[in-house]
C-alpha cells in the first residue's frame, strides 16, 4: 500500500508558493479545508489564484486569506457576503473570474479525468460565452469549456485512511471530490484518520490515488452561515 499521511497542516502545505493556482473545496462555509487555509495564512504565500465556489466570509474560510491579501484572483461562481472581498474587488486589488457553478464543477472533474475540454449549454447567449466556441448539438447551442490546471487542491473530508481514500459527509461533499481529482498535489484534511482496511471499499468517494497528502485536522470550527430552524411547538 502507498501511504499518504503527513503530520499536520504545516507539512501538508509544504511547497505552495507565490503565484500558484490552487483549489479549495467547499460550498459556502460547508466542507472547507479550515486547517489548510490556516496553514497557508501562516505561510504568507502571496499572489494566489484561488479556484473555489465561494470566497468565504469576513474572518472565516478564504476570507482569512483575503484579509492578509494573499489572493490575487478568485475563480468562483458566487462571491457574496464578504465586505473585504468587495473592498478589494472595487479597489482593483483583486481580480475575479465568475463561472457558472456547474461549469466550475465540470472543469474540475475534467481536469482530474484527462478530458481537456467539453461542451456545455450553460452560459450560452450571456457574457460568459464571449470569445468561446459555440456549437449546436441536438438543435441546442453549447459552448466549449476547458479543464482547469491547479498545482494544489485543498479538500476536506469526513473520514480518510492512510492510503488516502476519502469519504465525505452530507452536503460537505460538494466540490471536494472534484478538486481532489483535479489537483496536481491534493491535500486532504479529515476529521477521522483511520488505518487502511477500516473503510468499506464500496463506500469510498475518492480513491487514494487522487490524494498525495492526508492529515487529521487539528480542529474544525464548521461555522454555519445561515442557521435556519423550525421551532419546536410547546404543547
Amino acid at each position: 500500500m502507498i501511504t499518504k499521511i503527513v503530520e499536520n497542516a504545516w507539512a501538508a502545505t509544504e511547497g505552495i508558493s507565490d503565484g500558484m493556482t490552487v483549489m479549495f473545496g467547499g460550498f459556502g462555509l460547508c466542507g472547507i479545508p479550515e486547517n489548510s487555509i490556516a496553514a497557508i495564512r501562516k505561510r504568507g504565500t502571496k499572489q494566489l489564484t484561488c479556484i473555489s465556489n465561494n470566497a468565504g466570509v469576513d474572518g472565516f474560510g478564504l476570507g482569512l486569506l483575503l484579509e492578509t491579501k494573499q489572493i490575487k484572483k478568485m475563480i468562483s461562481s458566487y462571491v457574496g457576503e464578504n465586505n473585504e472581498f468587495e473592498k478589494q474587488m472595487i479597489s482593483g486589488e483583486l481580480e475575479v473570474d465568475l463561472i457558472p457553478q456547474g461549469t466550475l464543477a465540470e472543469r474540475c472533474k475534467a481536469a482530474g479525468a484527462g478530458i481537456p475540454a467539453f461542451f456545455t449549454p450553460a452560459g450560452y447567449g450571456t457574457e460568459v460565452a464571449e470569445g468561446k466556441e459555440v456549437r449546436i448539438f441536438n438543435g441546442k447551442p453549447h459552448i466549449l469549456e476547458h479543464a482547469f490546471d491547479a498545482s494544489f487542491a485543498f479538500v476536506k473530508a469526513w473520514k480518510g485512511d492512510e492510503a488516502g481514500n476519502l469519504i465525505f459527509k452530507g452536503t460537505a461533499r460538494n466540490f471536494n471530490p472534484l478538486m481532489a481529482m483535479a489537483g496536481r498535489i491534493t491535500v486532504a484534511e479529515v476529521e477521522e484518520l483511520v488505518p487502511a482496511g477500516s473503510l468499506d471499499p464500496n463506500s469510498i468517494h475518492i480513491p487514494g490515488i487522487f490524494v498525495q497528502r492526508i492529515f487529521k485536522g487539528e480542529q474544525f470550527e464548521k461555522r454555519i452561515e445561515q442557521r435556519t430552524v423550525r421551532q419546536k411547538q410547546t404543547s
Binding site: 457574496g80 457558472p100 456547474g102 465540470e106 447567449g125 465525505f168 472534484l178 454555519i224 435556519t228
Partner: protein
C-alpha cells in the same frame, strides 16, 4: 394581489406528481410549503442533495447539511448526497423536471436576467446559468414591477442575461403568464387584479385572449 406566499402557493400548483424540482433562493424556496395533496415530489439542491426536507428543529442543525442558500436543512428518507458535478449532471441532463427561480427581468421571448447589475457589486451567477440553460420547465417567481414601479416583463432585457429564451412561465403578485411565440400570454389574474392593471404593469408584448380567470387556491 398576492404576497410572496401567494406567489409560491400558485407556483406549487404547477408541480406534477413524480417531479424532481430545484427551487432557487427567496420566493421559490417557499414553494416547498405548498405541495398539493396527493402529489409526490422531491427537491434537489444543487450543492448536492436530493430529497431535501424542511429546516431542522432547533438544536438539531448540522453544519454539514445545508441547501444552496447556505441554510441548514434536513434530509428525508430516501435522500442522497452527491458531489457538485453529479448535481449539475442531473440538471444539465434534464433529470430535474422543474426549476423555479427569481429574476430581475424577463423578456417576451423568455430571456432572463437575474445575476448582474452593471455598476453594482457583482456577486456571481452561482448555479443559475446552468439551471436556465438546461431545464425544460423554468418558472420565474418575481414581482411584476421593480421598486421604482417599472415593469420587469420587458420586450428585451436591459440587464446582462443569465439565459436565452428559456423561461416558460412567470408568476407574479399580479398574474400567471406563459411565454411563447415572442409574447407574454396572460393565463390568470391574481384575486382582485384587473386585466387593465396587468396590462399597465407589463412593458413587453402581452396577449390577452378571451376571459382571463382569477387564480384558484
Amino acid at each position: 394581489m398576492l404576497d410572496k406566499n401567494g406567489i409560491a402557493q400558485r407556483i406549487a400548483q404547477e408541480l406534477k406528481d413524480r417531479y424532481y424540482v430545484n427551487l432557487g433562493i427567496g420566493i421559490p424556496t417557499l414553494v416547498a410549503n405548498f405541495i398539493p395533496k396527493g402529489i409526490n415530489v422531491e427537491f434537489q439542491s444543487e450543492n448536492g442533495i436530493l430529497g431535501m426536507g424542511p429546516f431542522p428543529w432547533e438544536g438539531e442543525e448540522d453544519a454539514d447539511l445545508i441547501n444552496a442558500g447556505k441554510q441548514t436543512i434536513t434530509a428525508l428518507p430516501g435522500a442522497s448526497f452527491f458531489d457538485s458535478a453529479m448535481s449539475f449532471g442531473m440538471i444539465r441532463g434534464q433529470h430535474v423536471h422543474m426549476t423555479v427561480l427569481g429574476a430581475m427581468e424577463v423578456s417576451q421571448n423568455g430571456d432572463i436576467a437575474n445575476w448582474k447589475i452593471p455598476g453594482k457589486m457583482v456577486k456571481g451567477m452561482g448555479g443559475a446559468m446552468d439551471l436556465v440553460a438546461s431545464a425544460e420547465n423554468i418558472i420565474v417567481a418575481m414581482m411584476h414591477t421593480n421598486k421604482s414601479g417599472e415593469s420587469k416583463l420587458l420586450p428585451e432585457c436591459s440587464l446582462p442575461l443569465t439565459g436565452l429564451g428559456c423561461v416558460k412561465k412567470v408568476v407574479t403578485e399580479l398574474a400567471v403568464l406563459e411565454i411563447k411565440g415572442g409574447a407574454f400570454h396572460l393565463l390568470e389574474r391574481a384575486p382582485g387584479v384587473s386585466v387593465e392593471h396587468i396590462k399597465a404593469a407589463t412593458a413587453g408584448k402581452l396577449i390577452v385572449e378571451g376571459e382571463i380567470p382569477e387564480m384558484k387556491f
